[in-house]
Amino acid sequence: MKNISIIMSLGFFFCISSLPTRSETLVTDLSQHVIEITSQFSGSELLLFGALERHAMESIQSDEIAVQGLDYDIIVVVRSDPTDLMIRKKKRVAGIWINNENQMVRGVPGYYLVGSTRPLNEFLSKEDQIELELGLENIKIVNENNEGIGDYKDALIRNMKARGLYRESSGNITVKNEILFRANLEFPSNMPVGDYKADVYLVRDGNVIINHRTDLLVDKRGFERFIYNFAHDHPAYYGIMAIIVALSAGLFTGFVARKIS
């Protein structure tokens, strides 16, 4: 027992002493913290940028860093609020294709973007990818009984990719002077509203050494927000309003057309 504790404390001491040479600070930010969905909204593009500070290393081991610069890899993940989705599978019944079976998944992202300096498998172990849910295939997608759902999972990812809601790319993060990095984030017009999280992971020697989170709010604004809230909060009045709008528009244009002809 005594030996073990000595080894542990030695190990601890070693960690502490090695920290100054391994100290990095990650600073990241988004070009915008709010995406406002207005009447002309047709998707959005944000810039995620950041800087890596390596105080101690710069002074002590500056030569080594210049060589090791590319040892740093950066992963950017943007996720929306978790949501519940229904996946339905069609089957041929009496000659026509109908929805026959389904699986419900809970707590999956409605929007998911992952970008990295290199393909993830080149610098991060599969276990870490799965634990942090990095990469489309590593998003935890299980049914209500916590079972894997095989081809339903593939179908979900395929469909979400086709809608532009799930995105995965590597090599799209540019690193400048091994200190500054930037990533362009694209959002389609059908993006869900809600609270988004943009996570940046700094990876070195196969380990995630730092991560930094930035919040992003996606919300409808102005007229769009009013219409959406009105429809959901006061559906009966909304219905009457819709009828009045239609009737008056029809009568008005009819009147105008008669005056013209």
Partner: protein
């Protein structure tokens, strides 16, 4: 230029929407139908979720048909008493149609139902109209004059609760128009159509109404029934997108006015054969999509999570 649709939660090119609204409006003015049987599939093909396409179309047809109804009323082409009886049946049908719609949407079968309803109704009615109008055109070619024979008494005349409709110069049972109105109401709620393609032939071939009041009266009924469908869909499923509806109807009401002028210059048989052709085309497309294996067997949605 893109426009964001707040209920559908996606953005679309406004000029595409205006072009769709305008051309369908033109056809609706020409044929005296709501145009929903073209517009709803078009919206679905353009990527609008089917439930939102159906509910929003009901709203848009209200606008398209009220301007048409007023135009026909000024020419004395509306039988208000018949229209009111049809509306009575229509409101009941719309209510139940919206309930069926909500239920099927929950269990994920609403798209199937929309397609099947299109194939069945458009197929049978388009087919009947087509055969009938070809026959009468051939007759006219051969120089036969269709004499206005005193029509035969049928089982329709034997029904009770007879009512007098002065405008249409008819004395018939109220059961028939109420049933037709009810059926049209169901279709308005579940298919996103005005139901003119059922109503107009039913009025001509079943009720034997004079043709000069058929289109005006059907537009009058459609205005009220689609307004009811708008209301029920707003309450049940919040699927009426007012921004989409207004964009479409702005173009559609203008198109409908032009269409009405053009339609007045065409003969009845020609109109009917054109309409029949178009109805059959949409029907064929819907049937084709049902039997051909889809590109992806899986679909993803956020609907129906409550009930499993």
């Amino acid at each position: 230029m893109q426009i964001y649709l707040p209920i559908a939660e996606l953005s679309m090119n406004i000029f595409v929407l205006l072009a769709m609204g305008g051309s369908v409006g033109f056809l609706s003015g020409m044929f005296g139908v709501g145009g929903g049987f073209l517009m709803t599939p078009l919206l679905i093909f353009a990527g609008i979720p089917p439930a939102i396409a159906v509910a929003t179309e009901a709203n848009q047809i209200t606008a398209a048909s009220v301007s048409g109804a007023v135009a026909h009323w000024r020419r004395g082409g509306v039988d208000f008493k018949m229209g009111t009886v049809l509306i009575g049946g229509g409101l009941v049908g719309t209510y139940f149609g919206a309930m069926i719609f909500t239920y099927l949407r929950e269990i994920g079968q609403v798209d199937l139902m929309i397609s099947l309803a299109y194939v069945i109704f458009l197929g049978s009615i388009g087919g009947l109209m087509f055969v009938e109008s070809v026959r009468s055109i051939l007759k006219a070619r051969r120089g036969e004059i269709t004499k206005s024979v005193r029509r035969q008494r049928t089982w329709v005349d034997a029904l009770p609760f007879k009512m007098r409709f002065r405008k249409s110069k008819m004395y018939i049972s109220a059961i028939m128009p109420i049933t037709i109105g009810c059926l049209v109401g169901v279709l308005a709620a579940i298919m996103g159509v005005g139901g003119g393609f059922v109503m107009v032939p039913a009025m001509i071939y079943l009720l034997h109404m004079p043709t000069n009041v058929v289109i005006g009266t059907s537009l009058f009924q459609i205005t009220f029934v689609t307004a009811a469908a708008t209301y029920f869909h707003s309450i049940n499923t919040q699927t009426v997108d007012v921004v989409l509806a207004v964009t479409l109807l702005t173009a559609a009401v203008v198109g409908a006015q032009i269409g009405a002028v053009v339609g007045a210059k065409l003969k009845g048989e020609q109109l009917r054969i054109l309409l029949a052709g178009m109805v059959l085309l949409v029907c064929a497309k819907m049937a084709f999509d049902l039997v051909v294996e889809p590109d992806d067997l899986f679909t993803i949605s956020t609907i129906g999570l409550g009930r499993q």
